[in-house]
Symmetry: C2
């Protein structure tokens, strides 16, 4: 333990008040007030009630209504010019919503018409309750796939389609209730625990899995595996080589090529975004015409077939609340609800940022939740704000949520009059539409960016991807969340500590890792603690600080420099401390005393000072050994070394000593 014998240096206790600014303890706050403060920061960080302050009662009622129904805010100011823009945007997203809706419903093993139903009611609800001006409501591929695969574990969608449908409504209801509750309880921040890296990996993996599922449509297969992992799907495709339909493959590849070409084109010239927006509908029309003219449905090209005419039938009598079905619906609803919500909020926020307005995540959750609750009662399944459709909406110049109403009306007209036109639409075209949409979600550039900036984030991302592709979508989600939280816990458990030195030509002290030119001070070890101290890292920090001291002794021994007398801990980065952290300081002080080292603190923050004082650690350390800055702490230590020379002061040290007044 490197106890150096000649180090018996008795620390004089002198009043050094003249040398230092006092480190303040923040004024005491009544417990209830500080509790209120923490609760507010936790649940109302964006202070949504700020605008209600100092308002007359009638105004408060209006503001309250506007809070839950944002359309009341913009509707009175709505102009004809806005309507023109919203009409164009609405028609554009409708042309995308119809083929996508049908495709995604197929992905969820649900009747294709459900995709249209789901683009009718939820957008209307969102138009009233949502606060984003750019979000276009609709179903999403990943949640659809997940709904399909999770519900298939208890009900076979081909054998008992009705029960399967009812389970899907139940799962949607659960998702809606769950989203609304989270919003009302202001627990929206749990979505933040899905890290960006995890989402990139998870979405990429899910997109890959969705594309793999489309091989069924592309190859015109009638039997296909129920699992979603790469190996099962590949086995399913390549074990049925004799079933492959070349007509289907050719048609699929042509349309995929067409769709990707229009995407590329629109990417190059963003003004022509409508070309790629219209491409899916064009593909559907072309495909249907082709099949109609060539009677390809009799030559191995599967078609959608009969779509029921008429708008959404009610479905609130269809919910299934009995075991063993309900538990699965519950699980499905919660998982898909969280994923859909995370996507919707992220999309809403990013477009809000472009246009410089604000989105309240918790309020959005309530809107999504209500939209799914209403949806589940009117034959819709899970909807959210998909990125692709919202981007088209934004590019098409939408002004308000009216574009969603326009889309809804367009879908209604389709449902009332145009469903027979989809009879001949080939399934392979829908597969091409899904694949072309999904390829955009595999964000390999983001993954490379992660690799460059943060290796651990890249590992999180790749684990989520591999989890989804080789395991299942749920596995991937669990892996993603687990790795994200593990990273967080590891970071908390192993904070950085640095040796600090004086930055040349300045009075600042900084880590010598970052500023290699910074000069350490003889006889004094200055350490920076890089994170809040609490139970998860208190033991580690104590051990690590002692190791720094041991290493410093080793270094001094080998270089024959001056001895070590003071250890200054820079507490600037210690934003908080708990009782385990306080205990750590008590222990550290004891150990240091036994080693004849003086423990000095620099710049403890308000909360830390409060707790150090309450627990009497300030008295234990001596108030005169707690300084406002590292510079002052060093000054005080040097002054002490100079004035009260330790028994054995090596010569090399003398000329470096200065009084603290010099600093």
């Amino acid at each position: 333990m490197g106890m150096v014998e000649d180090q018996q240096y008795v620390y004089p206790s002198v009043n050094m008040e003249q040398c230092k600014s006092r480190v303040a303890v923040p004024p005491p706050q009544p417990f209830l007030k500080s509790l209120q403060g923490s609760l507010k920061e936790t649940f109302f960080p964006d202070d949504p009630l700020r605008q209600f302050k100092n308002q007359p009662r009638s105004r408060k009622v209006i503001l309250g209504l506007q809070y839950f129904f944002p359309f009341l805010e913009w509707a009175p100011k709505y102009s004809l010019e806005f309507l023109k823009s919203d009409l164009i945007a609405g028609v554009t997203i409708a042309s995308l919503a119809i083929p996508q809706g049908i495709s995604y419903a197929k992905l969820a093993n649900l009747p294709p018409v459900l995709g249209l139903y789901s683009s009718l009611v939820p957008p209307l609800v969102y138009a009233m309750m949502g606060s984003s001006r750019d979000l276009a409501v609709g179903t999403v591929a990943v949640a659809s796939l997940l709904t399909g695969s999770m519900l298939s574990t208890v009900v076979n969608p081909t054998k008992d389609p009705k029960l399967f449908l009812h389970l899907a409504f139940t799962a949607t209801l659960v998702a809606g209730v769950f989203q609304t509750s989270l919003g009302l309880l202001r627990l929206g921040f749990i979505v933040d625990f899905l890290s960006h890296a995890a989402i990139v990996g998870f979405m990429g993996g899910a997109a890959t899995v969705v594309c793999l599922q489309q091989l069924k449509g592309i190859f015109g297969l009638t039997h296909f595996t129920q699992s979603t992992d790469l190996i099962d799907v590949m086995h399913s495709v390549f074990s049925q080589e004799h079933q492959w339909r070349w007509e289907s493959v050719v048609l699929g590849c042509c349309f995929l090529f067409f769709l990707l070409l229009t995407r590329l084109f629109s990417k190059r010239k963003p003004k022509l975004f409508w070309i790629s927006a219209m491409a899916p509908l064009t593909s559907v029309i072309l495909g249907s015409l082709l099949v109609y003219l060539t009677h390809a449905e009799k030559h191995g090209i599967q078609v959608i077939g009969y779509l029921k005419k008429g708008i959404n039938p009610p479905s609130f009598g269809d919910f299934v609340f009995v075991s063993p079905y309900f538990p699965v619906a519950l699980k499905t609803g919660i998982i898909t609800g969280v994923i859909a919500m995370a996507e919707g909020i992220a999309v809403g926020r990013s477009f809000a940022m472009f246009k410089n307005y604000n989105i309240d995540g918790n309020k959005e959750m309530i809107a999504f939740g209500m939209m799914n609750i209403f949806g589940s009662c009117t034959s819709c399944y899970l909807t959210t704000g998909p990125f692709s459709r919202s981007a088209v909406n934004y590019n098409a110049g939408c002004k308000t949520a009216v574009s969603n109403i326009v889309m809804s009306v367009a879908v209604m007209i389709t449902l009332l009059f145009l469903t027979p036109l989809f009879y001949y639409t080939p399934l392979v075209v829908l597969s091409s539409i899904i694949i072309s949409a999904m390829l955009g979600l595999i964000d390999y550039e983001a993954a490379i960016h992660l690799l460059k900036i943060d290796k651990f984030d890249f590992i999180v991302c790749m684990s989520a991807y591999i989890g989804v592709v080789f395991g299942s979508v749920e596995t991937g989600l669990v892996v993603a969340v687990a790795f994200s939280v593990l990273r967080l816990l590891l970071f908390v458990a192993r904070p950085r500590t640095f040796v600090m030195g004086n930055v040349p030509n300045s009075i600042s002290y900084r880590s010598i890792d970052q500023y290699p030119a910074a000069q350490t001070v003889p006889g004094i070890l200055i350490l920076e603690i890089g994170a809040p101290i609490f139970f998860a890292n208190a033991t580690y920090l104590r051990d690590r600080i002692l190791r720094w001291i041991d290493e410093e002794y080793d270094r001094l021994k080998s270089s024959g420099e001056t001895n070590l007398y003071y250890v200054i801990l820079d507490m600037s980065a210690v934003g908080s401390i708990d009782t385990s952290g306080i205990n750590m300081f008590e222990e550290l002080k004891k150990i240091m005393d036994r080693r004849d080292l003086k423990l000095v603190l620099a710049n403890p923050g308000g909360e830390v000072m409060k707790k150090l004082q309450r627990s009497k650690v300030v008295e234990l350390l001596g108030e005169e050994w707690i300084h406002l800055t590292v510079g002052e702490a060093v000054g005080a230590c040097r002054y002490m070394l100079h004035t009260f020379k330790p028994k054995s002061t090596p010569k090399s040290m003398g000329d470096q000593l200065e009084t603290c007044n010099n600093v």
Copy 2:
């Protein structure tokens, strides 16, 4: 969104290099080296291999052997004087170990002789492999109770005692293997995630529950509930009023009074520790004599009865690896293993601190694990280093682990020759011994201390206590861990941010919450970010910073002061950042640009600078807007405000402007 119109102030781009010290980016490190560094900090924070460096090969072999068998280190230096001390300490702890061992075995629904077996083999293993000089090995009450109650869920200990016994051995083996693996994988830090507050509450609750169980012995009941919660136990006691034996109650209360009195006495005069250490054995002898002389065993006083003579029979053929028993043994082993390990390591560490030597937690885990593996093969159940026994060992002046060997020999002699003497030992005495030991574990003073210093820690503590007492020991454990981790996550998700001002008579800038006298700078908002930035808090921090800005606008509007032009973020406490955090800065910059605010950073740390540079955020912000200190940043902003006056500079501001050279 408070956009102020008159704020269209174009920021000039000037070379201000003369005004500032450059913020350094740490020199790049090869990926493998930095990975190695992180892995070392994570798994080898105490650098156990440091002593191996620069040593010849033969020395390395010896050091390696000494690492795993610490007795090789101290055995050669062992002296007669040490032996004298260890002999006294060993005999003292043996006198405690024998009655406690028998009592705790009863608590685990195991044959009493198992308590003696468990004080024979494990201490020998620990003497060779353990690194603590003060730890006394033995069984513990909480783990015993937990073993008893958890295993009772699959096997009835009265109906099938043999299977129950074999399950206990299996659980011990599992615990041993688990502990050893954790130690070998250097994952010992998971123990740190049990916070101090959680442990206080959990141990207090467990002690309460153990005391409650003793009501069976005190009241001389033969039937008793299998559950451990307060309500069930109370119901069990008070529904059998007619079964109460007053002889038993009187005897129990007398011995309890005697034991508590000796404890109090020893507490007052620490030199007389041996009085309380000997009290349990004295009670056993007195109690047995009393029963023998009065034939009280025929008047309702239950006695231990026949104890098998002879040392530990082998038990490695008894393990049960079949369902449904093994899963329960697995769960029991892991849970009791973690709890026992946590106690043992904490005890070892605290005594090591008193005597100023070092304990490697991971190495200790290997020692505990091996001791349980060997124990499970020789008819022992779970052992660790109990606090009470180790404290007696320490107070009795033990020098090395030889005191454990002495205890082991004393227990062996007891097993070989003295077991018949325990025939008449009344169970009620054992109950008194347990209660008196447990009362010391209910650390209400620590709970009050928590209440004073940290309210949230107190809540964690009380939740754990209530969970154990009203639910079960497992419930309490889960509650304790869940609350601890929840606190941690909440803390991470909601870091503090502060407005900073200039501390009078200094060049330092500090939070105005902590230093109410600190003065804010007109036209500049200085914010301190109190924690690392990553996915869990990036969104919150962005919202919170924008809210600070909005609030500042509101304040300025109402007071008619100068406008806001600069926002300085003090990054001193941001020890780390991930890609979500980087994205946050990009977003913040965009939003600020749109509001005609300039974003300025002060003192970003090494890792943060590295990532900001790699992701080109340094370029985005402009390198000249990243400063070494808040003071320099303020200086630069003031200089800019002074030199390039914004269109509408309120008069009040002019006289406060200074060039940065002045600071």
